[in-house]
């Protein structure tokens, strides 16, 4: 007979054992992992005490890799095989990236997303990112001495489109992370800043990183962080300033960088000079190009002349966001500066001038995003018992469909709060038309050619009718991660023809399977072991959540209903102790189906309470 468990006096058997959930800032230049410990978010250091992990991977002989500091140190000597600033290629084809002649890589054009040839074969930006994420996951597991993280919140630039978000999520899954949520970087920063400073009101977050720029306006009200409007440029950052400075210095030295080493040296020297000029008035750009050491003196004034057009682009985006939000500059109570590039004095001065108030620089611009992600991860893991903050984010870019003449019909407007769904009706162009090609695009321009193509699909089986008689209802849905799905249905005739598309730019399922088989990122065990582990965690999670729900709201059920739900939770828990993945999944499915009505009743109760709360306040 199994022994019965007895808990300590005064301590209920806690279904919410503290779960380790982390926030990860996957940056262009460097990445961080943070977690809430003892109620406070903090960045987790590596064994040498460093919190920043350079986002650099060097592919070595025999499938080995160097990641982070070691890889960055080898950037120049092994430029072709040492990948850096790869975030700029996430969800991008070669054509999207533009001029690649200044970069030391061998690019491969592929449909959807480019790849880079290394001595270890082709590497997609998703695989690269997964290496970084897996390294951070390992760091977190070592820190907490666990081999099972509950999950992670991963940040993306607010201005990342659907392709770039999907690619990021794919990378996290490939790295063996349970993605609790993708959140926007400026939103994460606002969360960390707002909670730390007890701020209320309208705030702007100006986030200029290595490769991306975001500007978000947020309203902070009693633990709710509501994004009012957001904008930016997913391909504008400190790297562009480095390129401009490197180009100028090379021209001044009368040199041309043709080898991978020379190109990398020129960029590394530019970055070093730029960073020195945040404090000093002059610095030296010194690089080995074409086998010769070149040196050029750079003044801060020179750097600022080179950087000004780029900073002006960020200021135009700020003005646009203020217009979108219908907000005057002086209504903004504070401007939080995020991202390493905001250390440049010119950036601080220009943004302060635009808002007519000094910007807030009392946060660490490198760490604040990861800290905010950690707070949200902790809340999603159920650790923050009461008063968990609520993030209400928006999509930064409009979503639409191609119509006749290559024009875009917008279905969901930018700055719509997510999750959001919207349906629109379309009709046929020709008599007897039985199929319709749907082309989904993202962007603000009128012409399809100027927007980003996300997916194409066909709706077939439309009954033949005269032109204009069919009613095709197309529904766009954007979930809380900012990811889109689209469905279409012909409804005039009653004949159904529906299709669901989830644009995926990252990797197909079998690609992921292959990479896992290849021993990707030192992934523990094979695919079967991994699915079993995931199913077990899910079984434990769901049975605990169900019991917690019963404890809180069991009164909504009759005794019989309650017993049925309890039995399903017990079955799931028991299946979770076993090793039969299929059985666990079946139990999970039964639990999900058997608790649907209970979930609906709880939701209803919550809404009624919210409404009642308002009436009480009115009195």
């Amino acid at each position: 007979m199994a022994l019965l468990q007895i808990s300590e006096p005064g301590q209920a058997p806690d279904p919410h054992q503290r779960r380790v959930a982390v926030g990860i800032d996957l940056g262009t230049t460097h990445s961080l992992v943070a977690a809430v410990r003892h109620g406070v978010p903090e960045c987790l250091p590596d064994a040498e005490g460093r919190v920043l992990l350079p986002s650099v991977v060097r592919y070595l002989e025999g499938g080995r890799r160097a990641i982070g500091h070691a890889a960055r140190a080898a950037q120049a000597e092994d430029a072709e095989n040492t990948l850096a600033s790869v975030k700029r290629f996430m969800g991008r084809s070669l054509g999207d990236v533009g001029d690649t002649s200044k970069l030391p890589y061998r690019f491969i054009d592929k449909p959807g997303m480019l790849a880079i040839a290394t001595r270890d074969g082709e590497k997609s930006p998703v695989e690269f990112s997964a290496e970084i994420l897996a390294t951070l996951r390992q760091r977190a597991e070592d820190t907490f001495d666990t081999d099972e993280l509950f999950g992670a919140v991963v940040t993306v630039p607010a201005y990342f489109d659907d392709a770039q978000r999907q690619a990021t999520k794919d990378a996290a899954q490939l790295a063996g992370l349970n993605v609790l949520r993708l959140i926007s970087e400026p939103t994460a920063a606002a969360l960390a800043y707002g909670l730390d400073h007890g701020s209320e009101g309208l705030y702007a977050v100006y986030d200029l990183g290595g490769g991306t720029f975001d500007i978000s306006l947020l309203r902070l009200t009693q633990g709710v962080f509501e994004v009012v409007a957001t904008g930016g440029d997913a391909a504008l950052g400190g790297d562009d300033i480095d390129h401009a400075l490197a180009d100028w210095a090379l021209a001044d030295a009368g040199a041309t960088a043709t080898t991978p080493q020379g190109k990398r040296n020129a960029l590394v020297a530019a970055r070093a000079a730029k960073e020195a000029l945040s404090d000093a008035d002059s610095a030296a750009w010194a690089a080995d190009v074409g086998g010769r050491e070149r040196q050029v003196a750079v003044t801060r004034a020179r750097l600022e002349t080179l950087a000004r057009p780029l900073i002006d682009r960020t200021l135009a985006a700020v003005r646009k966001v203020l217009r979108d939000a219908k907000v005057a500059r002086d209504e903004v109570q504070g401007v939080v500066m995020v991202g390493g590039s905001t250390r440049m004095p010119l950036v601080r001065a220009q943004v302060s001038e635009l808002f007519g108030r000094p910007v807030l620089t009392d946060v660490n611009p490198d760490e604040v995003v990861a800290l905010g992600a950690a707070v949200q991860a902790d809340a999603l893991a159920g650790n923050a018992k009461d008063g968990a903050p609520l993030l209400l984010d928006v999509i930064a870019l409009s979503l639409g469909l191609e119509t006749m003449g290559g024009l875009v019909e917008r279905v969901i407007e930018r700055n719509s709060t997510i999750p959001v769904a919207k349906a629109q009706e379309f009709t046929t162009f020709k008599d007897g038309q039985t199929a319709m090609a749907l082309h989904i695009v993202q962007g603000e321009r009128e012409l399809v050619a100027d927007c980003r193509s996300l997916a194409r699909f066909e709706l077939r089986g439309i009954p033949p009718m005269v032109a204009g008689a069919a009613r095709i209802r197309v529904t766009f849905q954007v979930d809380a991660d900012g990811l889109l799905s689209v469905s279409a249905r012909e409804q005039a005739s009653g004949v159904e023809a529906a299709v669901v598309v989830k644009p995926s730019y990252g990797l197909a399922e079998d690609d992921i399977a292959r990479m896992l088989k290849d021993g990707f990122a030192h992934a523990a065990g094979d695919i079967a072991a991994r699915s079993l582990r995931e199913a077990r965690v899910e079984a434990e999670r769901l049975s605990l959540a169900t019991r917690a729900a019963l404890a809180a709201d069991g009164a909504l059920l009759t005794a019989d209903e309650r017993a049925a739900v309890e039995a399903l939770a017990a079955d799931t828990e028991q299946a979770g102790q076993g090793s039969d993945t299929a059985a666990i999944e079946a139990a999970l499915e039964a639990l999900g189906a058997g608790t649907e009505a209970f979930a609906a009743a709880r939701m209803n109760q919550g809404i009624r309470q919210a409404l009642a709360g308002r009436r009480v306040e009115d009195v």
Binding site: L392, L542, N604, G606, I607, G613, R614
Partner: protein, 174 residues
């Protein structure tokens, strides 16, 4: 409380055009705090699906209620006066003349300042039209008149989009 309830009922607000924006915003936050998928993070796929449906519904109602024109159109339709903007395009002559003048002014405006002056003028007219609409919907009973005013305001809204687009172009080149 059901997904199919009308927007006003869902938000527990009186079914009228006049809107206490502060109460609407507070109610939206309160409802999202109950239904948002983040509140059901560990509770499995079916709870997530349900939360998603409710969060989408709450956002949809909020978007409609907070926008004066959409709220007015919704109220007309709820009271049986269809807007039917695509088929019903008849407008008073004076209003059409005004529209033409504005369009010409926008075509002639070459700098930011000129467009901003026009923007200001259109905004003032729009303001007056909304005041009339409010009186029609909340004090009168002529829903057909209300629907006609909504259609006219839709024209104005479209023109203001053109102005905004022009402002963006001029701002980007400066």
């Amino acid at each position: 409380m059901q997904l199919g309830d009308d927007d006003f009922t869902l938000f527990g607000l009186p079914k009228q055009y006049a809107m206490d924006r502060g109460a609407l915003d507070a109610q939206w936050r309160r409802l999202q705090a109950e239904v948002h998928p983040d509140r059901f993070a560990g509770e499995g796929a079916s709870a997530q699906r349900l939360a998603m449906q409710w969060a989408v519904r709450v956002n949809e109602a909020y978007q409609r209620l907070k926008d004066p024109l959409n709220r007015a159109a919704y109220l007309c339709e709820q009271r049986g006066a269809a807007i039917d903007a695509e088929r019903n395009t008849a407008m008073p002559t004076a209003f059409l003349m005004q529209q033409m003048q504005w369009r010409e002014a926008l075509d002639d405006a070459t700098d930011l300042a000129a467009v901003e002056v026009l923007d200001e003028a259109v905004l003032r007219t729009e303001h007056t039209m909304f005041a009339t609409l409010a009186a029609t919907l909340d004090d009168g009973a002529d829903m057909a008149a209300g629907a006609a005013q909504v259609r006219a305001l839709m024209f104005v809204a479209r023109f203001r989009q053109d102005i905004t687009r022009r402002l963006e172009v001029l701002d980007a080149v400066r």
